[in-house]
């Protein structure tokens, strides 16, 4: 391998960034946008928590509370939980399959600019007079009411994000299916790639349903169509059906890539192949397919016929099975490994720990007999913050730390990364575990104020303390990542000794990734750590 000197991609000038079609730069642009919005959403969450510290309205009015809820939900869902995986996918997918770029590099840039346009629109809603208070769900008829704020913002933000997701997903699916380097079969593909394939297929089939739903919202509001008006033959539940037809599968868009990251990291630091890789692949697709058959559990109390609820309760709980398979396979990947407790490993072990709690508390929400009491209570909030809030965030941060040397060519500070993790785990468990309890006690969701019930007050006070610790931990972890781009020590090309293809190029990767298309030998496998050792011996 001739060591050609090249300018690392991140030292490019402004013009090269703006007009870039390089998947790595676009991946970084997604990541930075995503993180900025994660921080805004996190701050709005802190505002919400401070308001709930005591009953009564201390810091904000009901309307600004509702706005904070909306910002928190929309930003966390679309910019963080979905957006961050656009970053990982863009950056890593071509590297992992040995391609120079994605299938449609210009379309890829366009996807980002759609995302960017949506970001600017979202920031505009912060201006007075443009506040949206319809939450990330935007249920009609409420969202058509003046009280909810301008629905045009909400609908157009969703449209732009949808265009971004759709273009990005098509791009990555075609890249994945057609541009794999010789020697990488479907069976040899990283689980990360399988997860992204499934996730992007879900995006392609799901996003249009949401786009359709918000288009109807737009039409109903500004052109007086009858979609959600029961007096003219419409039905508000149509929106909920379409919305959840996308928005339930979208939680797998969020969590499947997290599973992919977990699989990569757990294999690397156990130094052995993933246990039951084939069943892992089937589990991914099982989740993706079942994911489209469960959306009604979000509507268990919305007045649909009881027999529909029962059918969907069976499909819903069945999704626990492939998810369980994944967890068992991870645990058995540890078996007879040689486990190194590096920072990324600690992050994803924490993610599995959190996911297990989140997953187990998700099962009863699929049981109507249980859901009837906790639907739209803080129990639900706690459940999806364990799963999408913490398991996803910890996996994403695990990924940040794992691929950090690849992204930047430097190492982060181990100490601060670990301090951050400890604080995150203490804070989030204090926060969200008590949220389960306050939910079981009956506390409804989306309440700016609550009645002075003794036990609720105590639980809310402790939760707020937990949320501050969690915020501090995340702040330290993010700050460490930022500061280390300048202060971190130089990293080797392959610090974790992984045979996965992205680690076989220099850090940071050269502009064209590979000087020539790699041909992977017969005995290579992304999780075959002995193969790598043999290469070194040669």
């Amino acid at each position: 391998m001739a060591a050609v000197s090249y300018k690392p991609y991140f030292s490019a000038g402004l013009k090269e960034w703006i007009f870039t079609t390089d998947h790595k730069k676009i991946g970084i642009m997604y990541g930075v946008t995503s993180l900025i919005f994660f921080i805004i959403a996190g701050l709005s969450a802190l505002a919400i928590r401070l308001e709930l510290f005591q009953p009564g309205l201390q810091y904000m009015s009901e309307d600004s509370y509702n706005q904070a809820l909306t910002i928190h939900g929309v930003l966390m869902q679309f910019w963080w939980a979905v957006g961050i995986w656009s970053s990982f996918g863009n950056y890593l997918l071509p590297l992992m399959i040995g391609a120079r770029d994605v299938a449609f590099p210009r379309l890829n840039a366009l996807s980002y600019w759609f995302f960017f346009a949506a970001s600017v629109l979202a920031l505009l809603t912060l201006l007075p007079g443009n506040e949206i208070r319809m939450l990330w769900t935007g249920y009609p008829p409420f969202s058509l009411n003046e009280n909810a704020g301008p629905v045009a913002f909400y609908a157009l933000i969703v449209h732009l994000l949808g265009a971004s997701s759709l273009a990005g997903a098509i791009n990555l699916v075609v890249t994945n299916l057609t541009m794999k380097a010789p020697g990488i079969s479907l069976k040899k593909m990283n689980l990360f790639l399988h997860a992204f394939l499934a996730m992007n297929v879900i995006q392609i089939l799901g996003v249009p349903a949401l786009a359709g739903a918000v288009t109807m919202l737009l039409m109903d509001k500004y052109f007086h169509t009858a979609f959600f008006d029961p007096t003219r033959g419409g039905d508000p539940l149509l929106y909920q059906n379409l919305f959840w037809f996308y928005s339930h599968p979208v939680v797998y868009v969020m969590i499947l890539p997290a599973f992919g990251v977990i699989s990569e990291i757990i294999a690397t630091f156990s130094r052995r192949e993933i246990f039951g890789k084939t069943s892992m692949i089937f589990a991914i697709w099982g989740i993706a397919i079942l994911g489209f058959m469960v959306w009604v559990h979000h509507m268990f109390t919305s007045g649909i016929p009881d027999w529909v609820r029962i059918i969907f309760s069976y499909t819903t709980v069945l999704i626990g099975v492939p998810t369980g398979i994944k967890i068992f396979n991870w645990i058995f990947t540890l078996y007879k490994g040689s486990i190194r407790f590096t920072t990324p490993m600690l992050y994803i072990l924490s993610a599995i720990f959190m996911f297990l709690i989140g997953g187990l508390t998700g099962i009863p929400l699929g049981l109507p007999a249980f859901d009837i009491a906790v639907h739209d209570s803080h129990f639900v909030v706690a459940h999806f913050h364990y799963v999408l809030g913490m398991a996803l965030t910890l996996a994403a941060f695990g990924g940040f730390h794992y691929w950090y040397p690849k992204y930047t060519g430097r190492m982060y500070s181990e100490l601060w990364a670990k301090i951050g993790l400890v604080l995150i785990m203490i804070g989030s468990n204090l926060f969200y575990f008590l949220q389960f309890i306050v939910g079981l006690e009956g506390m409804p969701r989306r309440y700016a104020d609550y009645p002075p019930i003794e036990v609720w007050i105590t639980l809310h006070e402790l939760q707020t303390i937990g949320s501050i610790i969690l915020g501090l931990g995340l702040f330290i972890a993010i700050l460490n990542l930022i500061v280390s781009t300048k202060l971190g020590r130089k990293a080797e090309d392959n610090p974790w000794q992984s045979p996965s293809l992205e680690w076989l190029v220099p850090s940071p990767p050269p502009p064209h990734n590979f000087d020539k298309t790699p041909h992977m030998p017969e005995d290579w496998d992304p999780y075959n750590y002995e193969w790598l050792e043999k290469q070194y011996k040669k």
Partner: protein, 258 residues
């Protein structure tokens, strides 16, 4: 290896994604300015800028695509996946239409169908036009495969004309129904009818735009045949979707009692 010398293929930068991306922002802003800020002047300006950016961006993009690099043939797969997404978009509106049709079967047939029913002869004519255009675009694709540039241009032009005629007749039909008092806000039949046919018409417009871009760049089409195949595939989908759209909006909508 097929990728040998692909340094030339790989564009580090392209100026054309940004204007297209910004155009969507300008258009969104125009809608917001009009509907929620009530500033029609700003809406017109933003909308104008948006459309101009879109036209410039798409034209530049197409030109760059046709003049640089070689045909990698991936675009066809991209369109196939995109059509899957389109099916779901139509599915969402169909769901709304059919749900209302079933739950309000009574009042639908009694009160919602416009007087005199729907003009089915016209639908037959529209179908005929659209399906003929499916044939002409297939001929265009066939011509370019065999290197017949003249035939390609001719058949493409024929498709564009047929598509436009379809739109004109369709627009006339809408106006006619609208004047009869059957509007998009009358009831769920009106809403469903105009949304289904309107969304379908917007796809016809996109299809015609694709064909126009192909026609403008047809000078360089001989070594880039994937776009023609992709546009043709998309157009077949639009024509096939018409069968369901027309069947639902006209026949299911105005007949029967179920």
């Amino acid at each position: 290896m097929a990728h040998e010398g692909s340094h030339a293929v790989h564009h580090e930068t392209s100026v054309w994604a940004l204007p297209v991306g910004l155009s969507t922002f300008a258009l969104a802003l125009a809608a917001i300015a009009y509907f929620t800020w009530h500033l029609p002047l700003l809406a017109v300006i933003a909308g104008g800028i948006g459309l101009a950016l879109l036209a410039i961006g798409v034209a530049g993009w197409a030109n760059e695509y046709f003049s640089k690099g070689h045909d990698e043939g991936l675009g066809f797969q991209g369109i196939v996946w995109f059509v899957f997404a389109e099916v779901v978009i139509f599915g969402a509106i169909f769901a709304g239409f059919w749900m209302a049709r079933v739950t309000h079967a009574d009042v639908w047939v009694r009160e919602w169908v416009p007087e005199g029913g729907m003009n089915l002869a016209l639908v037959a004519l529209l179908t005929l036009i659209l399906w003929t255009s499916s044939f002409t675009i297939w001929k265009a694709e066939h011509s370019i495969e065999h290197g017949d540039l003249g035939g390609y241009r001719l058949w493409l032009l024929a498709t564009i004309i047929l598509g436009s005629v379809f739109l004109i007749i369709h627009a006339w039909e809408w106006l006619h129904l609208w004047h009869k008092g059957f509007t998009i806000s009358s009831n769920m039949y009106g809403t469903g009818f105009y949304m289904l046919t309107g969304v379908h018409a917007s796809h016809v417009i996109v299809g015609i735009a694709m064909q126009l871009i192909l026609l403008i760049n047809s000078g360089k089409a001989l070594n880039k045949k994937t776009p023609a195949r992709s546009a043709s595939y998309y157009w077949h989908f639009v024509d096939l979707a018409w069968l369901l759209v027309a069947g639902t909006a006209y026949i299911v909508g105005s007949f029967g009692k179920f």
